[in-house]
Amino acid sequence: MSARPRRDPHAERERATRVGPSGRARRILGGAVPAAPVRPRRNPHVLRMAAVPGPAGRMRLDPHGGELLAHLPSLATPGAEQPIVVERPACLILAVLDLPGGRLEGSDFGLLAAARDLADRLEGAVLALTLHGRPDLSRLGVDRHIALDLPDRWDPIARLAVLRAVLADQAPAHVLFAETPLLGADLARRLAAATGLAAAFAVHRLEPEEVRARGAGLDLVGPPPPIMTLHEVLLADRPEPALREARPVPLAVEPDAGLVEDLGEIPVDLTGAPLAEADLIVSAGDGVTDWPAFHTLAARLNATVGGSRQVCDRGLLPRDRQVGASGTLVAPKAYLAFGISGAPQHLQGIERCQRVVAVNTDLHAKMIERADLAIVADAQAVMPALEALLERRRHG
């Protein structure tokens, strides 16, 4: 608080006003006005500077000089964000994440978001089951987490055994999967066949009262069954990033070896694979002149070859390699674009790519703007350098 006198123009005017002989109010100008009492001036910044973080992490003001905040125990301890805890859930929603390779994919986020929504509306808790590794799920809406480390080979029987153990142990009200081939879609059907529980596959509307599952040209409508797989339209969402406890839940299970034996991946040349299916694409545009280097790089990465319309028009790549609005709409995990300017028609084709790496000499190319990793350099220099690096890596 500062002691600088504060003028109050309204009070000053009042004091200077007298009733004149005619009965009208008259203002006395100059001199004879009695001095005002000094009212201290308030400095609003002082109050602001004394703000302390509250329980939710926001800054709180205390107009009473810190007295109030000191008396509130939860407010007095600023610092770590407290996780949301669901102590007595009405039910458990089990979300089964397969995570081959231990990585969370887009569909896993969507699955957790849908599970969180359903749990919130049923006042339940989300139980996540991960079969390969223990990713941190505390900011993905997960209350409980069972993490296992199954071997990497494909063994549906072992997964089914794990799932049955979880069902026996935790008795979740609903089990959710993503409708992804070989992962969620496969496991959900195995579980439905093995347990005889009701199931809905490719659910595209999920409400606590009613679900809509996509059949062959029709919708199956009914109350949410115990087993559900979610259609991809429900999987684009992300859960709210609020901190939750993701409490580790132990599970004792010894899955025995199943009937199916995994003999390992077969090396296949993917450079000519259908573009729509590819999960790694190297793509060439007009900026590529060193075609042998481009093709050697694609072969070394075992990536599928794509190109812009410009190069397909000129016959440098076959027409079925064209990416874009009038070619193939691609959805790989990574798209490597060499010397592509990023015309709107081309960008339309790569809308659903998860990661884009662009190499272009033009800093202002649209492709550079779109890319997650943008490299302003000559493609003819980068391609052989990358190829040489891969070669060195392979030989140790």
């Binding site: 339209v233 993917l270 990465l301």
Partner: protein, 254 residues
């Protein structure tokens, strides 16, 4: 030589609604015909009310066709199971999903469960069939994996597999079908599920949570790429950045 049964369901063209060979079942038939070429016996099995649904498959090749006479509403599994138990085939082939009705893709799994056999989805080819069956499974992104399982096994063809080549109308008309009477079980009364016309799918959306502030931030911030930018790096440095990036995504295969 072993016996192979391929399950053939009534197909339906999604636009015209006309009868056709179901795409998934035609893919399974392609696997079966490839096995027949190496000397195994192939039987096409259909459970349904009409010969025509089965006849369209005969246009692909000449092979044995059996129809279990069943009403369109009845559940196929309880009639297929005893028939298979009598024949004891070494392999059962199926498509991933039916083109009429619920189309859940559950039947092969339920069949395998009842037979005590392995069910393997996304099969792209069968390499060897004896005591064990060695097969190739299609993985996402065009990759392939080799698996082995004891026979009998239920194999579900990969959806993207091509149908057998060469369909002939005359061959389909000439085909002789064997019809087996089947006693359907009464359908289980009134399940909670009802069929409705398919609604258009909603657009996949990412909802913005966390109130007005989060919505404002999402609307005003530019989030096209994650945005790591290297300007005129040495080629080697650029290559290392790309490599690290791909490695982080688990996309390096060699």
């Amino acid at each position: 030589m072993a016996e192979i049964v391929t399950l053939l369901s009534a197909g339906c063209h999604p636009e015209t609604g006309r009868l056709r060979p179901a795409a998934g079942d035609a893919a399974a038939l392609a696997l079966g015909l490839a096995l027949r070429a190496s000397g195994h016996r192939l039987i096409g099995l259909h459970a349904g009310p009409a010969d025509d649904a089965l006849r369209v498959y005969a246009g692909f090749a000449e092979f044995d066709l059996v129809r279990l006479n069943l009403s369109a509403q009845a559940d196929a599994l309880p009639v297929i199971l005893p028939w298979l138990a009598l024949r004891r085939p070494a392999l059962v082939l199926a498509g991933p999903k039916a083109e009429l009705g619920a189309g859940t893709g559950l039947l092969p799994y339920a069949l395998a469960e009842a037979m005590g056999a392995a069910c393997i989805p996304e099969v792209a080819g069968v390499e060897e069939l004896a005591e064990r069956v060695t097969l190739v499974q299609a993985l996402p992104g065009g990759r392939r994996r080799r698996l082995a399982a004891p026979a009998p096994a239920v194999l579900v063809a990969a959806g993207r597999l091509a149908p057998p080549s060469g369909w002939a109308y005359a061959r389909a008309q000439r085909a002789r079908l064997e019809t087996v009477p089947a006693t359907a079980l009464e359908p289980v009364a009134a399940t909670a599920w009802r069929n409705e016309p398919a609604r258009p799918l909603a657009r996949p959306v990412r909802r913005i949570r966390g109130g007005a502030a989060a919505r404002m931030a999402a609307a005003t911030s530019f989030t096209a790429g994650e945005g790591q930018l290297l300007v005129q790096p040495a080629p080697d440095e650029a290559a290392r950045a790309i490599l690290a990036y791909l490695e982080g995504q688990g996309l390096l295969r060699s």
